[in-house]
């Protein structure tokens, strides 16, 4: 039975993606999209419950493996995918009625969205580091199409940069994977299992350190490009700003997480093989650099989506730093922060999406008085922004608190840098968002009422997690954190 559940999880997005391609843009297509995403989420939830109850398991031979770490990402991915599909229903309809998107583009959007979900789920659940790479590359391809959906010069430019930079980046990851395979084969022999994570973990202590170090560098640079680590991040703001907003939401909320997941898997192996802090130090270095650079980037942004893209970079830096520190607490905090960031950032992008649609512009200077046009969107954006800036009682603060306190304990020198970056980011983002939300305006109403539920659903969860993390979630996080070592 459980076998089927996993297949269902993968099959729903794949089949519905194909179906949406075939049937084209119909009246009920958005609903199909939502139903499919809902089904995926349901399957993910059931799978999660199953894993919690019965422990990790393989699927499709040994090619897929679901343990408490990736099932957590699966659940998160499916959830955010589901809410994004709800959000994109009215959003895309508005876009079509504004004449920005035609029916074929909408068809492309929906099918690519489902395929993107599929690639992400594959990337998360696969046991094979090679297939992980393939799925990551496929995720790039689907999102390239999504980013260029508007076919404007800007979106094409963004998509082109995205493709080239991530393509090149991911090529480095392939080299890293080859080196990993090379190292593993020396230990595991030519059994064909040498890329299987479960086998690799068993023998990680006997992998050749020199090769693994090289491999980790390539993997870090490769997948790190997708995570958005500075100075490899250049594609990220462009792609976020020029794609449709639901795509920005899933890029920030999911793709970055999945890329980071790949880095984490690599780190576990590298740590096992090399020992010491090699991988951790590299990640901490990248994390701090990313955090600091992103914070200073924020001040010069004129485009709201671009600004939040930089905010995503900033948070990815923070998370990378957290995982770089390692240890149960930091890993816990990192996982928590990933969750919080996914939920919050996608909620922000939902709100921003509606706001930009209402005002017809993405320029910060032209968006004013959202709270007057639509109080719900205004409050959504305001609260989301405050949440992402680490204001208690939202959950982002909880994870930032844990990261900061852990850093203070073990890496006191890093604390001023972290705080400087967080302080600057606060000043810049809040300074830009506040006048958008407050003040006077004269903007028009939209033909379709926005889907507000996702925004507040996300924020509510984030709020709850800031005050109370349910024990089973804690156990689950702890187990995952322990796996990361």
């Amino acid at each position: 039975m459980e076998f089927d559940l996993f297949l269902v999880l993968l099959a729903i997005p794949l089949v519905s993606g194909a179906l949406l391609t075939v049937v084209g843009e119909r009246e009920w297509a958005p609903n199909l999209n939502i139903i499919a995403s809902g089904g995926t989420f349901l399957a993910a939830a059931l799978l999660t419950a199953d894993i919690i109850a019965n422990g990790p398991r393989f699927a499709l031979g040994e090619q897929f493996f679901i343990d408490s770490m990736n099932v957590f990402f699966v659940a998160l991915t499916a959830f955010v995918g589901f809410t994004t599909s709800i959000f994109s229903g009215p959003y895309m309809r508005n876009e079509r009625e504004h004449g920005r998107l035609s029916a074929p583009r909408l068809r492309l959007y929906k099918s690519m969205f489902q395929l993107f979900m599929f690639t992400m789920l594959v990337a998360l659940t696969t046991n094979n580091m090679g297939i992980l790479w393939v799925a990551m590359e496929a995720a790039t391809l689907t999102t390239v199409l999504l980013v260029s959906l508007y076919r404007t010069p800007a979106s094409l430019e963004a998509a082109w940069k995205y493709f080239i930079l991530c393509g090149v980046g991911i090529a480095q990851a392939l080299f890293g994977t080859i080196l990993l395979y090379f190292a593993a084969e020396r230990v595991l022999g030519e059994t064909g299992n040498s890329l299987l994570w479960t086998h690799l973990v068993d023998v990680k202590g006997s992998l050749e350190p020199a090769i693994m170090a090289l491999s980790f560098i390539f993997l870090l640079v490769g997948y790190g490009t997708k995570v958005g680590l500075a100075p490899l991040h250049n594609w990220l703001p462009d792609a976020h700003a020029e794609g449709p907003t639901p795509v920005s939401a899933v890029l920030s909320g999911l793709l970055l997480n999945v890329a980071l997941y790949a880095v984490l898997r690599s780190k576990v192996l590298a740590d096992g093989a090399i020992g010491g802090d090699f991988a951790g130090n590299l990640m901490m270095g990248f994390g701090l650099l990313t955090l600091l650079m992103a914070a200073f980037f924020l001040g010069r942004q004129k485009d709201i989506k671009r600004m939040f893209a930089y905010s995503s970079i900033e948070h990815m830096g923070l998370i990378t730093f957290a995982f770089g520190m390692g240890g149960a607490v930091a890993n816990f905090a990192g996982l928590l922060h990933m969750t919080m960031h996914s939920l919050t950032k996608s909620a922000i992008f939902f709100a921003v999406g509606h706001a930009t649609q209402k005002t017809g512009t993405q320029l910060i200077a032209d968006i004013r008085g959202l709270i007057r046009i639509n109080p719900v969107i205004g409050w959504g954006l305001m609260l989301g922004t405050l949440a992402i800036l680490g204001m208690p009682p939202f959950g982002v603060f909880a994870s930032e608190f844990m990261i900061l306190t852990h850093a203070m304990k073990y890496y006191p020198w890093a604390t001023p840098i972290l705080l400087l970056a967080l302080g600057v980011a606060f000043a810049q983002i809040f300074g830009k968002v506040q006048p958008m939300v407050f003040g006077d305006t004269h903007a028009k109403r939209l033909p379709h009422a926005p889907a507000i539920t996702p925004v507040f659903l996300h924020l509510l969860i984030v709020l709850m997690l800031g005050l109370w993390i349910p024990p089973y979630l804690t156990r689950w996080f702890e187990e995952a954190a322990r796996m990361l070592g």
Partner: protein, 669 residues
Amino acid sequence: MPILYSIDLLLVAACAWLAVGLAGLVAPRNMHLVAKVLFPVGAAIGLAAGLEALFFLGEAPETAVLVIGLPTLPFHLRLDSLTAVFVVLLGFASFGISIYAAGYFRQGEGASPGLLCLEYHFFLASMLMVLLADDAYAFMVAWEGMALSSFFLVTTDHRHEAIRRAGYLYLLIAHVGAIAILLSFGVMTGGAGDYTFAGMRAQELPPFWASAAFLLALVGFGAKAGLVPVHVWLPEAHPAAPSPVSAMMSGVMLKTAIYGLLRVSFDLVGTPLWWWGVVAMAIGLVTALFGVLYSTVQSDMKRLLAYSSIENIGLLAVGIGLALIFHAYRMETLAALAMTAVLYHCLAHAGFKSLLFLCTGSVLHATKERSLGKLGGLIHHMPWVAWLALLGVVASAGLPPLSGFVSEWLLLQAFLFSPGLPHSWLNMVVPVAAAVVALVAALAGFAMVKFHGIIFLGQMREPNLIHAHDAGPWERAGLVWLAFLTVLLGVLPSTVIGLIDAATQQLLGTGLAGKVAEHGWAMLAPISPDRASYMPLVFLATIAAAVLLGRWLVRRFYHGRLRRSDAWDCGYFFQGPRAQDTAEGFSQPIRRIFEPMFRMERHFPTVRDEQPYYSVKVEDHFWHWLYLPVARLVEWFSGLIVRVQGGRIAVYLLYSFLTLILLLLVARP
């Protein structure tokens, strides 16, 4: 064993406040429900919490651990006497302010009533939680929740650019301060990673780290309290908020920062070093002098009061510094004297400053005018507000027999006994500090006379002021309550000291209550009556008796005849309202004497002006010395960094390439 501990009851109060706030969202547009039901209920909760804390004072500390919080660090709460003193402050002040607010908020002013109700009660609940928190996480959550809710309250009328800017500045500095506080907590754990306050107490920090923790706490809590140079948000944010909120912020919220500073420096960080006290005192003196000078030159009535709050916070910091010095030298009785002065002044300031801010609220409602230059003569139409404001003014000027005088008296007494310090240099410096405190107190009188005289007295400067009306019954009730507290704190110092002494005892191990109680409730003699004593009730009775007796005798022996006529004014014929001093004119001597302290932009009329006018704008030096340079630095650095994102894909690839090569060459396990 009691069924319900006090801490549980206070927790219930916090939850009740939250519930009241959320109830506001049920019918967000229903003004009647919010104003006439929810706010009074909130007030009652405040009173109950205050009373509960009042009865708790002196009992053994109670602790609780909640289920919420981090998995590794659930919310720890603790109720001890220090907390209880501030809960009393919060509860009693909020009772008056909430009652007033019930009559204050009107439809159509900024946010919807329900939202206001939520933000307001969330603010109250978070302040209570700040006081109760017993671990870093709970404290920070409550602390930032307090900042956040007050931020939304400040920006209630966010359509004004200035208010938005004020809100931004406020939240930013609050956040920076919170970061410093968090760091301070981090230092105080001493690397043990135990973020409960109990864990911090258990740590013996080396002097360097202890000092670091103290200084960080001073910066962090100072940012919330308004110590120079992190005060800039205060004169912007307090006037921007609706008056009950200004009252709550000035009267209560600033005290939570004082609470935090006391908690850290006397409870958590361990034995203080003597120079901490000097630092706190120096900053306090600068703050007090700065605050009072700027307060005298303001033309906006709420800004005037906001700067006056800065002054009072400065005095509190001076008191804390003095207590620290004495405590460091183990002169606990004197430390207790200074500490009592601090706690007393917290209570006193909460009363009179809330009262004054609420009075400005009534004036604002009656006249729609905040600028002193357009007010005047309101005592005729608003006698209640004017006379109650006079009580606040006298207390704020630190004059007997009201509350402000008692704390200033105690503080000066503490100064007087400083020559016993085993440190000759300190012996020299401390009395000079007393001179500055005296100067500040006198200048406060100047500012307060300006405040009261220009708003309520004289001729009406604008014709429309004739339509001003007195405060409504709810507002009046709130004002009367706060005025009552001010008088009570003024005339019953021994009783009050007997109550708050539990907190002094807790922090210093010794208190004043024993000595004070020896001389009965009417006399305040903290050391001995030979050395210093003060009997405010006799004081008040004498003055009242003299006034009444004098009046009666004059009428008895002479007559009570009275005629009305035009004013004499040395025979000048032009007696219009323009002949009176303006707000700027009144403070002209101060501007002239203390010219280097201000950054002024003045325009003088010349002979050739078609429409001659005079204007003066006083700005804060610190903007130009500290904030703008920092902002420019960040801006400059941002400009440098964004060059990375130049748009050229080849360059992007190059970054990637160079990163890879660098790592390949440099990174070795």
